[in-house]
Every structure is written in C-alpha cells, then in structure tokens.
C-alpha cells in the first residue's frame, strides 16, 4: 500500500497535525519499551475531544486493543484500532510532568545538555496545544500507546515493564478529521531510572472504506451506535 507520509519520533520527540479521516496510522516501536502519549481533538471543533471514560465504559474495558475505538465526548468514533501486535494500550495513567522527569531521571537543562535535555509529556503537550490555538486547560487523559498498566484487586497499579518488544506495532484508522498531538515521553509509571531512548516510527496510509463486517464496528453494539453518530455528523457536515 502507498505510504502517504512517514515520521520518526525520537525519544522525547513530539508532533501535532491535522490528519483527515480515512487514514491508517501505523505506529512501530523501533526499540523495546516504547510509550507514545496521544491526544485527539476534532480538527474543526476542538472542544470535542477524546474521552477516556466514555471510551472505556462503552466497551467494558480498562485498556485498548484491536477492535476497540477511541470515542469523543460527543459519542462519536474518532479513531479505531484495526491492528495490534501488543494486545494492551494504556489510557488511565496520564502523562509525565517536569517534576516527574526531574525526580526520576535527574535535573537536565538545555544550557548544559543541549538537545539531550529530557522532555516531559506535559511540556510537549503544552507546546503543541498552544501551536494549535489551545492551552493547557484543554488537557484530558491521553492514550499511551505501547504501555500496559493493569490493576490488582485493591486497585493498585501494575506497570508491565517488558510489554513492548522491538517492532511492536499498532495501527489506528482515523474515523474523523483529527487534530492529533503526539509526545514520545515516558509513561509516568515506568519504574526504570534511565530515560527510555525508544524511537517510534509513524507511517500513514490511505484506509479502505469501512465494510459492514469491520472488526471495530461489529465489536459491540455500543461501537455500532458510536459509528452511526460519526457517519451522521459527516452526512450533515458534507452535503
């Protein structure tokens, strides 16, 4: 299939841009132990955004994998997970702050380390939110691709350190026109004391039209209804 565009996100790297609906976004971990934090907004109306609770409760799950969709706070499917070699992506443990990074990995400054200084999730998001006319008030829980965080019976969080191998891969289909914000920064629960130096490759392809037997549409009746909301939105939008 024809690659439209590719990008390598270096450790600490970030990116934002508008990706139209009907694309496949294939993310590949170029080394083990990746974590890519992702925020999603409706490109044309960014007060509609990814909603972690609606996504989880509609699909009766506390994690994301193939067949799951990412829902907006207006009951629409923003993106669908159409392929996944990992089986679990986290959306409950958030992003790192400057304080988290300094505490865990030591204080780094551009003055001393130049571009080897260590980026935080919140600062990366801040830059890309402001670049797109938004601010930190628009922060909501992100999706952390490649990370596995489960809970025990008492609710204690368990970070699974060896979850993502080199070459781990997940593919999302865009079902709406999205403003996508990406930050290749550590999962806040990653216990390693060395800042993960894991690059992530993003390749974008055109997606095939959705078939009636699409695994994300047929995953559960809730997904079917959320897709109907999305299709109705575009039927009204594009006359």
């Amino acid at each position: 299939m024809q690659i439209i565009w590719s990008k390598t996100l270096r450790p600490g790297g970030k990116w934002s841009g508008i990706v139209g609906r009907g694309r496949l976004l294939r993310f590949t971990a170029l080394e083990p132990g990746a974590n890519l934090s992702m925020l999603l907004y409706n490109a044309w109306n960014p007060c509609e955004r990814y909603n972690m609770p609606d996504t989880l409760k509609a699909q009766h799950t506390a994690f994301l994998t193939m067949g799951n969709v990412l829902m907006s706070d207006n009951g629409r499917v923003m993106a669908s997970i159409v392929a996944d070699s990992l089986g679990w992506h986290d959306t409950i443990s958030g992003y790192t702050s400057r304080q988290d990074i300094d505490q865990k990995y030591g204080v780094t400054r551009y003055q001393d380390q130049r571009n080897d200084w260590l980026r935080s999730g919140q600062e990366n998001f801040a830059v890309e939110l402001v670049r797109n006319g938004l601010t930190l008030r628009d922060l909501v829980p992100p999706v952390n691709l490649f990370a596995k965080v489960s809970v025990d019976d008492d609710g204690q969080l368990i970070f699974h350190e060896n979850h993502c191998p080199q070459g781990g891969q997940v593919t999302l289909r865009t079902d709406m026109d999205l403003l996508l914000i990406l930050s290749n920064t550590p999962n806040p629960l990653d216990p390693r004391s060395i800042y993960p130096s894991t690059s992530i490759q993003l390749d974008i392809f055109p997606a095939n039209p959705i078939e009636p037997d699409d695994i994300c549409v047929t995953h559960c009746p809730e997904n079917q209804r959320a897709f109907e909301n999305t299709w109705e939105y575009y039927a009204l939008r594009n006359s």
Binding site: G75, S93, L139, V151, D154
Partner: protein, 213 residues
C-alpha cells in the same frame, strides 16, 4: 478498604443543604474548609469536578490523581490533583470505602451510545454541568469539562482489564469528607441516570455540609 469516620458534628457546620437528583451545585471552598457529601438513600452517583478557583483553567485531573497515588480508587488519604499537579483537595473521611474516577459523567451522547440512540433526550450529568457553567462564569466552557469523580459509584476493574459498572457498595447515610487544600471551585451534578442498575434506576437526593475546619 478501611472506613474512616469524621469527628465533625453537623450542628457546627456553616452550610447545610439538600441537593435533589438531577440538579447541579457550584461552591467556592476556601483553604481549610471541609465539605461532606452524604449519600442519603444509598448508591447515588455524585458526579463532581474541581477547579483551582484562582486559575479556572486548571481543572481536576483523573489521571494525575490516579498516578499520584498509584491506585485506581479514591478513599481516605487520596489527594485530588489538577492537571498542573496542584493538590486541590484531600479526602479526610470516608464511610463508603472507595469512589470511582474513570467512569466519567453521563451525557446525552453517552446514553445514546451505551443504551440506545433513542435515549439521547433524557436528562444527564453533562447537561447539568454545562447549565451550571453557563450560570457561574463566562470563563468556564465545555472545554473545561474533564473526566470527573463519581462519589459512591462502584466501577471495579479486574486484573484482566475488564470493567463493569457494578452494584453500589454505598448505603443510606454513608459519606465522604474532603478538606480543601486550596481555593477550590466545586462543581457537582447529582446524577439523574435512569438507565444504569448501579443506583437501582432510582436517583436520590444528597446532602452537602461544610465546616470552617
């Protein structure tokens, strides 16, 4: 799961009111003030958001609160954090046992997705939130609505990652008590949900009591 009772007496309170189901409430707490939310009839969901009242752009963060304590459930000792990491509130007493912060607030659209698209007309928490915001301050808009806390709601997550809304673990008269660590705006929607068995399809009033300390 340990239950911690409060030493405070209602007769010493500076504020005391009933909030029927389906209604909203906003209140600015000063540092040191204590808010008790009482589940009068049991298994009522109290959908609650917090804002830094000195910087309304900094809202409650479910994920910062969860990762800050390395635990999914909220109970006595939990510090409620904003997106900036700022500590807004601390739970100082809890006779229910634990509270949810990943189940979110019901909305017209989520009712449609979860149950049936014909149910979008029904009253819901996000409508209550938005009506309260429209009355409170022009600076607060839809973009300021983030994943909230559901006091008294039971949303257990299993080790295999499955998630269900389960029968409540609350009961008539159980309460949660929160001390404000900052100048904090509280936004409550006392949930009108009629489609979820967790409240036995019967939304009920809550009681809100505030002490100086």
């Amino acid at each position: 799961m340990s239950l911690i009772e409060s030493p405070r007496k209602v007769e010493d309170a500076i504020y005391d009111r009933l909030l029927p189901s389906g209604e909203g409430w906003t209140y600015e707490l000063q540092p040191g003030q204590v808010l008790r939310i009482i589940d009068l009839e049991g298994n009522q969901a109290v959908d609650t958001l917090f804002y830094d009242a000195d910087n309304l752009e900094d809202h409650y963060s479910a994920v910062a609160t969860i990762t800050g304590q390395h635990n999914l459930y909220l109970t006595t000792g939990t510090v409620l954090r904003a997106e900036s990491g700022k500590a807004l509130m601390r739970i100082v007493a809890d006779t229910c046992g634990r509270h949810d912060t990943i189940g979110g607030a019901c909305s017209a659209q989520s009712n449609g997705v979860r149950y049936d698209r014909s149910l979008e007309w029904m009253h819901n928490c996000r409508d209550t939130f938005m009506l309260q915001l429209s009355r409170y301050d022009d600076r607060l808009q839809k973009r300021d609505l983030a994943p909230n806390i559901n006091f008294f709601m039971n949303v257990p997550v299993a080790p295999d990652g499955s998630l269900e809304f389960a029968d409540g673990i609350s009961a008539p008269g159980r309460y949660v008590e929160l001390e404000s660590l900052a100048h904090t705006l509280v936004l409550i929607s006392n949930c009108p949900q009629l489609n979820n068995p967790c409240n036995a399809y019967n939304p009920t009033p809550i009681r809100l009591v505030i002490w100086e300390n």
